[in-house]
């Protein structure tokens, strides 16, 4: 299956060519080249998926296939960094997701970005991102993953900052990069610790279940936790950064400054789930050796999910609502992983999480692209500027509704299936957590439909030029994604992706399913009551909630806290003092040396009086001292 290399190389090639050509090509040419390449990639991915799932199942277990592997850098000893391609159920699944969404975004952007300055650059960056993301998922070892992890980060940075003349976009890109970089630091240290004890980077070895490789770490503890826990926790921090887990989530809402298709691709469907993917990738290690960390992940996920959902209920920027919704949903996935065990029924969470990843990618991309379509029409992100758009944009309206229903977990849309599995797994793990998650599901339904009603229903705004349906290049991807969102849940996911590779079909917990749907519907109804028509209800509710509402609306002031920390601790507390110290103390001490020398030089000038008798005096004294010295020393 060496042709899989092409999946990686084609986008890279596309990036290089588009990057070098830059403005020499017409925008249309650049766009078509990019899209064409991506369609080939997508085709290859589908073929790979088909080929993999049809051939790799040996004895009921999906085997890991490494069609390509090359040593990139050899270190002394056993350590080496390889570049290769690893095919297993989750990576193949991700290939499909990424190439699908990416292709959709490529097509969509042809119209959405039309006429933008830097169109060619945009496509180059998209290609770069696709390359990096694909490289990330097929990584055969943790270091390769880290390499592409960083590349993904930078392409995200470049895309968020695409409108580089807009200060907000520049700030947002910077923020995104730095926050994720900070998280990556944890990832890196985790890798270092892990590799120190295991002497390998390879996923194959790490996940082989061979306890021998962790032997040297056993018994080593630091601050009460085993060193392996530390390593895995640090690695999770890396994932948490990319996946915007609390408290590293702050970059994601700001990242919406980027072009909307980018948000759909990177900040909804693909890159942000990299953290989930990372945990899933190392799942055997987590579950076997550091279950404590895994439980921590579950709680972090749950909290983040709740936290983001609450905020999402109060935001007015439609992209930000979607962004918080994304955070919340990724929290879901994390919970799914966190509560999962290994193999069979125990492993439901794992499977569910991956399933949710898949469905979420589809419906969230759909929602973002839909939102983009709306923004394209209205030229604004703000809910207040919208309303009643269902008449003007029927297609968008329909697909958006599908997306909202999917995310709200309404049967039989895809979200229902995946979310339900996660809830099931959670209840299996802890009832309390399960109830919490159910509540969040309700919240999700509420804020999604708040969004939906605000955009497409409610009071009709007076538009300067009346909004119109988006062009075909935009609606086709929407429809395609809507299709997936609608029917994606019917895929028997457990057959393909499970924690141990063996197929698994969970029995549906009907009670739970029905309750979930009911909760979802409650949320929807609540939203309909409040937002379907222009009423005073929302204001009253928000007033009665008062303080809490303000907290949520201001995202619990986490941004401000960060700002405070970076400004006061990082810049004023560290950087400025260090540079002051450097200029004045270190530099000063060197200059001080010179000053002291000068000072001494001035001080001793007294012996050079110009009086010859004084000279003779010193002369004689010197002589006598010399005599004295020579005699008595």
């Amino acid at each position: 299956m060496q042709y899989t290399l092409l999946i990686l190389l084609l986008p890279l090639l596309s990036f290089v060519v588009l990057g070098l050509m830059d403005t020499k090509w017409k925008a249309r040419v650049a766009g078509s080249v990019g899209t064409l390449v991506l369609s080939v990639v997508a085709a290859l991915s589908y073929y790979t998926a088909w080929a993999y799932f049809s051939t790799a199942n040996v004895g009921g277990i999906y085997q890991k296939i490494v069609p390509l592997q090359t040593v990139w850098m050899q270190f002394s000893g056993q350590l080496h960094i390889d570049l290769g391609i690893l095919l297993d159920p989750i990576s193949v699944m991700m290939l499909v997701v990424i190439s699908t969404v990416s292709l959709m975004v490529h097509i969509y952007s042809l119209a959405y970005m039309k006429g933008e300055k830097g169109f060619e650059r945009y496509y180059a960056f998209l290609s770069l991102f696709t390359f990096s993301m694909l490289g990330l998922v097929v990584a055969t070892n943790i270091f390769q993953m880290y390499i592409f992890w960083e590349l993904v980060g930078v392409s995200s940075y470049l895309l968020i900052g695409f409108y580089y003349t807009k200060p907000e976009a520049v700030a947002a890109s910077k923020k995104a990069f730095i926050v994720t970089r900070f998280a990556d630091l944890g990832f890196l240290i985790g890798i270092l610790i892990l590799s120190f004890y295991t002497q390998t980077f390879d996923f194959g070895v790490l996940n082989s279940g061979n306890a021998g490789i962790f032997a040297s770490a056993s018994g080593v503890t630091f601050m009460g936790a085993s060193v392996l826990s530390w390593a895995m926790a640090l690695i999770f921090i890396g994932g948490a950064g990319k996946s915007a887990m609390f408290p590293l989530h702050i970059w994601l809402p700001d990242a919406m400054e980027g072009p909307t298709p980018v948000s759909a691709l990177i900040h909804a469907a693909t890159m942000v789930v990299a953290g989930v993917y990372l945990v899933a990738r190392l799942f055997p290690v987590y579950v076997t050796y550091t279950p404590d960390v895994l439980h921590g992940i579950a709680y972090v996920g749950a909290f983040t999910s709740l936290f983001a959902a609450v905020i999402a209920c109060t935001q007015t920027d439609i992209k930000r609502v979607l962004a918080f919704s994304t955070i919340s949903q990724i929290g879901y996935m994390m919970v799914g992983l966190g509560v999962s065990g290994y193999g069979g029924h125990e492993g439901t969470g794992y499977m569910a999480s991956m399933f949710h990843l898949f469905t979420h990618a589809m419906f969230k991309a759909l929602l973002f692209l839909g939102a983009g379509s709306v923004i394209h029409a209205v030229h604004s992100n703000e809910m207040q500027k919208m309303g009643g758009l269902r008449k003007y944009m029927p297609v968008t309206h329909l697909v958006f509704l599908i997306g909202c229903l999917a995310i709200a977990g309404i049967f039989p849309l895809s979200g229902f299936f995946s979310k339900d599995e996660i809830l099931a797994a959670t209840y299996m793990y802890s009832t309390g957590l399960g109830i919490g998650m159910s509540f969040i599901a309700g919240l999700t339904a509420f804020y999604m439909f708040r969004l939906y009603f605000n955009i497409f229903w409610g009071k009709e705004n007076s538009y300067e030029h009346s909004p119109h349906e988006s062009p075909l290049a935009m609606t086709i991807p929407l429809v395609v994604l809507a299709f997936f969102s609608f029917f994606g849940g019917l895929i028997p996911f457990g057959k393909f992706v499970t924690s141990d590779g063996a197929a698994y079909t969970g029995e549906t917990n009907y009670v739970l399913a029905i309750v979930s749907v009911l909760i979802g519907i409650t949320g929807i109804l609540l939203a309909a009551a409040m937002y379907r028509k222009k009423t005073m209800l929302p204001d009253r509710v928000s007033q009665s909630l008062g303080f809490i509402y303000q907290l949520a609306r201001n995202k619990f002031y986490v941004d401000e806290l960060y700002l405070f920390i970076t400004k006061n601790v990082f810049f004023k507390g560290m950087a400025s003092p260090v540079s002051w110290y450097d200029r004045h103390v270190v530099n000063g001490s060197v200059n001080g040396l010179a000053v002291v020398t000068q000072w001494v030089s001035v001080k001793i000038k007294g012996i050079q009086t110009g009086k010859v008798q004084q000279y003779a005096w010193v002369f004689l004294l010197g002589t006598l001292l010399m005599a004295f010295l020579i005699l008595f020393l």
Binding site: V71, W72, M73, Q74, F75, S76, G77, L79, I81, F143, I147, F148, E150, L151, V154, Y157, G161, Y164, T165, P167, V170, A171, S173, K174, F177, I178, R181, F182, D184, L185, L188, I189, L192, I193, S195, F196, F570, F571, M574, A575, S576, V578, S579, W580, D582, V586, N587, S589, V590, N591, A594
Partner: protein, 493 residues
């Protein structure tokens, strides 16, 4: 006479040729052809070196030659290269080539400028090809004069002060180095100054530790180790562009190279004894430099402190004493040399157009000069360790290598040092954001020209090199390991 001496002879011949020039065209012609010749020779050297190696030549130093110079003091003109020095020569050649291009249109006295610059280059090449302590020191010191004049005459800002400070501090380093060299020579009682032969001699403790401290500190000053780095910010920022490139690209590497070749390899026991002190200093240097860079507002200062941070990492890696870390250290030398040269080149280009280096006075330059802007961003991304560029490879090799050390201190400081990658990201992005992105500060910037052809060649050459190292690291690490293999045996306990 060794064939390697052409690397010294070419610059000297350039000087002579420049003496007879009388207009800018001729000066440019000579400097370009000379530096191009150097670059080609360096590439040829790499090729020949590999051919020799694959042909089965296992001598530690290839192309070695040895001519007695001063018999009385056993001073020989001994030259030879192993994998490491070959790469260093290549690095120097690239930087000399690009640096001479950058100053293509230097305003005043081009003839003198290039004369001194060639002199500077001769010193650097001489240092890397020498394997005799005296000649090494000779070439190391030779650069003092040209540096002083180049900064003082063609520099900007507080150039008098900076030039003086730079030279005096470097001289201070040299003093320690010279004491150490004399110590090694006389305390081993060896009849040679050849570093290959001296490696087999032993010096008693505690003399060895004292000498190590002297030598390492001395080279540390040259390589900008905290707290002896203070010449770097002022020196780099006052120097003209090409000299800044040279200073941070090559000069600081002289210190690091010497610290390894002389201090560590010849005095391994002392090194092990005192490693912890310098480990703490260099580890601290890494984070300290990054933080200091964060607090600057002048582009050159930022890059100067970034250099301190990155060079600290080299010293840090040296003191880990394992092959991986050492490989990383040399990769970092190459990588940092290229990246920082690229950075300084871009800064110089921007400065020559906007006539300011203050971050706050720029903005939105990306629109006006996209080529330089892209170069600048690439330099920045490479500097913050983005995969695909050399910085990542080097840093990761160092971190992985350093973490393989069994010492607690080493590992803790590795973790400490990794923090720099975040801080680096912060200041790099801050600069990129302020300078290139955002709104244009001044209307006058609208009419600024993008890169001229010589500037394009400079940037493309450097970027190509950076990408090459970043994507094909094993070519380079193999070369380095080729040089390290015989040395490491004596180092690793």
């Amino acid at each position: 006479m060794s064939p390697l001496l052409i690397f010294v002879l070419i610059p000297l011949l350039m000087m002579i040729a420049l003496f007879f020039t009388n207009n800018r065209k001729q000066v440019n012609l000579i400097s370009l052809s000379g530096s191009l010749l150097l670059l080609l020779s360096a590439i040829a050297l790499v090729v020949l070196f590999w051919r020799e190696r694959t042909a089965g030549n296992t001598a530690q130093m290839l192309f070695a030659a040895d001519t007695v110079w001063y018999r009385e003091f056993n001073i020989h003109i001994a030259t030879g290269v192993d994998g490491i020095s070959v790469l260093m020569v290549l690095l120097s050649a690239i930087i000399v080539f690009t640096a001479s291009l950058v100053s293509w249109r230097i305003e005043s006295m081009p003839k003198e400028f290039y004369t001194w610059f060639s002199f500077l280059a001769a010193g650097a090449f001489g240092f890397f090809i020498s394997i005799d302590l005296f000649t090494m020191f000779f070439f190391l010191e030779m650069s003092v004069v040209p540096k002083f004049l180049l900064i003082g005459v063609w520099g900007s800002g507080r150039k008098d002060y900076s030039a003086m400070k730079l030279v005096l501090m470097l001289m201070g380093g040299s003093v320690l180095v010279l004491t150490g060299i004399l110590g090694i020579y006389y305390l081993t009682g060896a009849e040679t100054l050849n570093i290959v032969e001296l490696a087999h001699k032993n010096i008693e403790q505690p003399a060895q530790s004292i000498l190590f401290a002297l030598l390492f500190t001395g080279f540390g000053i040259i390589g900008a180790l905290f707290p002896f780095h203070v010449w770097v910010p002022d020196g780099h920022s006052s120097a003209p562009t090409s000299v800044s490139m040279f200073l941070s690209g090559i000069s600081m590497k002289l210190g690091a190279y010497g610290a390894f070749r002389v201090a560590i390899c010849l005095l391994p026991e002392g090194a092990h004894q005192l490693a912890w002190i310098f480990l703490i200093l260099s580890g601290f240097s890494v984070v300290y430099g990054a933080f200091a860079a964060l607090g600057q507002s002048d582009l050159k200062y930022i890059n100067a402190y970034a250099s301190i941070s990155h060079c600290g990492l080299m010293f840090f890696a040296f003191l880990i004493f394992n092959e991986t870390a050492l490989t990383g250290a040399f990769l970092q030398m190459i990588s940092h040399g290229l990246i920082t040269a690229l950075f300084f080149a871009c800064i110089g280009m921007i400065y020559s157009r906007t006539h300011t280096r203050l971050v706050s006075e720029m903005g939105g330059l990306m629109k006006v000069m996209p080529f330089i802007g892209v170069g600048f961003i690439i330099a920045g991304l490479a500097s913050l360790g983005l995969p695909g560029f050399s910085g990542f490879v080097a840093e990761m090799t160092i971190f992985i290598g350093a973490f393989q050390n069994s010492g607690e201190l080493q590992r803790w400081f590795t973790i400490f040092a990794t923090a720099s990658i975040v801080i680096t990201a912060v200041y790099i992005l801050r600069v990129v954001g302020k300078v290139l992105y955002g709104k244009q500060e001044h209307q006058a910037y609208d009419s600024l020209a993008d890169a001229y052809w010589w500037e394009r060649v400079t940037m493309i050459t450097l970027i190509a090199a950076v990408v090459l190292v970043g994507t094909m690291p094993s070519w380079f690490s193999n070369m380095i390991q080729d040089g390290l293999a015989p040395l490491v045996a004596g180092l690793v306990k």
